[in-house]
Amino acid sequence: MSAKTGAGPAIATPARGTVTAPPSPRPREAEEELVRSPSENGAGRPVAGGDRPADHPNPGGAPSEDRPLAAIGRRMRKVDGLAKATGRARYTDDIALPGMLHGKILRSPHPHARIVAIDSSRAEALPGVHAIVTGRDMPLTYGIIPWTPDEYPLCVDKVRYIGDGVAAVAAVDEETANAALALIDVTYEELPAYLDPHEAIAATDGPFIHEPRKPGWNGNVTKVVKLAFGDVDEGMERSDVVVEGDYFFEGTTHTPIEPHCAIGLSEPCGKLTVWSATQVPHYLHRELARVLGLDPARVRVVQPPVGGAFGGKSEPFDLEFCVAKLSQLTGRPVKILYTREEVFYAHRGRHPFHMRYRTGATRDGLLTAVDSRIVMDGGAYASFGLVTTYYSGQLLTAPYRMPAYRFHSTRAYTNKPACGPKRGHGSVQPRFAFEVQLDRIAERLAIDPIELRRRNFIGSDIRTVNDLRVTSNGFPECLDAVERASEWKRKFRRLPYGRGVGVAGSTYITGTNYPVYPNEMPQSGIQLQVDRSGRVAVFSGASEIGQGVDSMVTYIVAEELGVPLEHVRVLAGDTDFTPVDLGAYSSRVTFMLGNACIAAARKLRAQVQEAVAEAWETKPREVLLAGGRAMRSGDTARNMLLREAFNLAEAKFGTLGATGSYNTPKDVHGSYRGATIGASPAYSFTAHVAEVEVDAETGFVTVEKIWIAHDCGRALNPVLVEGQMEGSAYMGFAEALMEEQIFKSAEQGRAGLHNAPSLLDYRIPTSVDTPALRSLIVESIDPEGPYGAKEAGEGPLHPSIPAIANAIYDAVGVRMNSLPFSPPRVWRAIQEAGREGRRAGAFAEEATSRSGGRG
């Protein structure tokens, strides 16, 4: 890059990091809330992986060391906390480049139509308009999953949902760009629209939303997965109780408070820079180069701090291609900021799931077989849908032992915004259904539902029925913690009518075992560099979306090198100078980047120890790095500042730096087709108890409190782990009671129009809606996680919804099988059940017993 191309400080400086606020340690509070799992994977056990080479690519994680931890595990500030609290953090829309143009995207008013013609001549003539692009300017398909590339940056010959992008304008300001959109004439030929996934699947002769990928295939189906493990029919046969149920999980969307935003800058030398509020800068980098036909080495993606994502920014979007193309055409920087309405249409949120479950158990409550049939409403594009379809079945096989399991999931295309990954991707919906099924089995068998879950506990260091390797598992401790904290035994079936408690459990992956495009390279890399002042720079490609990853690597460097936290500088979020990390999705970052960071820091540490040992004429292992100093073991009076130690090492080895990387172990799954999807190096476990009050007169449900116990392996900073747990439970609560991403039907006048694309009407919970949330951290010390850590960002969402459903049953004796549990639905259910059909042993379980109705 030539010197003159730097257009102001936004380019010259990295987007994130370089935050100088000193993170100061705080004394740990609420010590009693930290539960260490006594299971055999618990603290103190020599960890597996200790004999693995600590070198690149470091499969299976860095070995832990047997020593007390200094920085890890303490309640600490984040490195970017004060920048965010003082308004200094610069998000994408806070960046203004000299000469910047503003872009807008014209969107389809039809749910399904052929584009006959586009005439943009009137818009081009509007003063202030600099460029207009349509689908024909970027006629290559892309897709986050390489096997299902079915999107264009702008539609080429068809639109598939109301809101699909058709053309984009760059103009001197937003007003002019908007005025230009109104002058673009598009001629459409309308096609029949599918809003219901069952209807789309049934239309086997078309018309199809997408051309079938192979002749004879159904172009309205993204993916079908049928897998069976063990003998389900035999399992059902020997069951003492078989419970069947139909469940519906309504779609929901992420609604980060920051709308999507991107800026493109194409330079005369041909280099393209895109700033974007994305969770996946690496995948965006690849797709920008491929779709625009650019040499990837001349594409740079910068990721400023991201103002919330939750899965909603984890694939390329139209605006990123459009700002790039418009900048190429104009030679000027171009910004596009979505309106809130556009964020709702961009979507990629939770799929609506239609689910049918059959669950068998012995009279002791032990599961015998589980059978599911799921139809998923995928919306107009594949997105991550291939993975979602697998996840809908694959992630259900813990924390309970299932001798036999079968699932059959189908993802349909419909003419609505595409669904994708939202926090707890693909497994939140089946978890809801399954945990309600468990509650019904417990009810049938008169077993306490917590006890039923204990009896079915799968254990640690096992393989699930679908051959996923599970190592550490603190689920029993999670159940204990919520049972105790919620005073479960005093409350369950004992509260007055209208009040109730419910329990649910869950598991979630700590990262996917494979990247979305097949390759043998590490999933995460990091680079450390030391200068002569004692400052350690961390070059991290990971995505800071508010979860605290920049802080996490700071704590790790401080831990491993003994440097003060304020001597660590994280430089992140820029593909030009950071190693690749695949992105903030699937709860992978702490585990993978954390291990990479440990690996890099230990290489550096070894060099420093060797240099200091030489000066002191001792062995390297006698040199300790801690508290900002290098010390001699057993003789700490012999010490020097770390800066001096670094200088010795630089004198001996040359400029100091180290890289570290992490890749997953490959022996953690079976060999059947699809076995790799759902495989993870580690699994988190969660249990919730929810306490609710139900107003039987109105159907209004108030969730008073949710107790959240989560096995995160080890809490690297308990403040951040609690934040993830509470935020997850909040989001689950919101889906349970309030949120619906729904669209108008043809009868309502505008088929496929979003029902409520605003933050007022799409009811996300305010402070006064949100229940009290109590986090209870459980630490199982995972053998391969960094210091034993596993994920905390997504797992704790899952049990909220079934725990609330089960609590509603405890309160008023009705089963809520459809989301959300809105007042009309709850009221109707209570009316149908009849008020007398409640409580005191009169819970009318409609389960199919062994003697009747089975099959």
């Binding site: 606020a21 705080r26 500030r77 984040k78 970017d80 906390g81 004060l82 920048a83 965010k84 609290a85 003082t86 308004g87 200094r88 953090a89 610069r90 998000y91 829309d93 806070d94 203004a96 992420h254 609604t255 980060p256 408070i257 920051e258 709308p259 701090p305 991201v306 103002g307 919330g308 994502a309 939750f310 900021l337 309106t339 809130r340 979306i545 508010g546 979860q547 605290g548 403040v719 951040l720 609690e722 934040g723 509470e726 935020g727 997850s728 439970a729 909040y730 989001m731 605003s758 933050l759 007022l760 996300i764 305010t766 402070s767 006064v768 949100t770 009290a772 949330l773």
Partner: protein, 156 residues
């Protein structure tokens, strides 16, 4: 373009703006004060909240002319020099800012609230922040931060 005069974070500022500009647009695009955020542009989310003459105001639905000649405080003006306001510091200490995008607006709501209610209980804090959506935290850590800041402000 019209010239609007505002007192922003103690500075007398004059700024040329289109007549239809909101206070938020003026702050962000006219004065370069990008701390206040645009989340919805219609007064639903509260990310744009600033303090005008001591009261929390949604700047994205406030025509800039309504603020003319009045005292505007934004997130950039809450602290003193390099010292953050106690609410800002407690947000950091308590992990009340995750993605941080709603944070400037919540801080302004909280500061305006605490200036009128120095000893609030948790329920009153909860009610005072009902106009600010946070999508990350579940609000608990925000209440913790405001409670702790209230105690520090009382001790001043």
């Amino acid at each position: 373009m019209e010239v609007v005069r505002l007192r922003v974070n103690g500075d007398e500022r004059a700024c040329g703006v289109p007549a239809h500009y909101t206070l938020l647009e003026t702050l962000r695009y006219g004065l370069g004060l990008t701390g206040s955020k645009q989340g919805c542009d219609k007064g639903d989310c509260g990310a744009c909240t600033v303090i005008v003459d001591g009261r929390a105001v949604l700047s994205c639905i406030t025509p800039v002319w309504e603020a003319e000649g009045r005292g505007v405080r934004t997130v950039e003006g809450l602290g003193r020099g390099t010292e953050p306001h106690p609410v800002q510091d407690e947000f950091d200490l308590n992990g009340a800012a995750q993605c941080g995008f709603c944070t400037p607006g919540i801080l302004c709501s909280a500061v305006a609230f605490l200036e009128r209610n120095p000893s609030p209980d948790r329920d009153r804090i909860r009610a005072a922040l009902a106009g600010n959506l946070c999508r990350c935290t579940g609000y608990e850590k925000i209440y913790d931060a405001v409670e702790a800041a209230a105690a520090r402000l009382r001790d001043r």
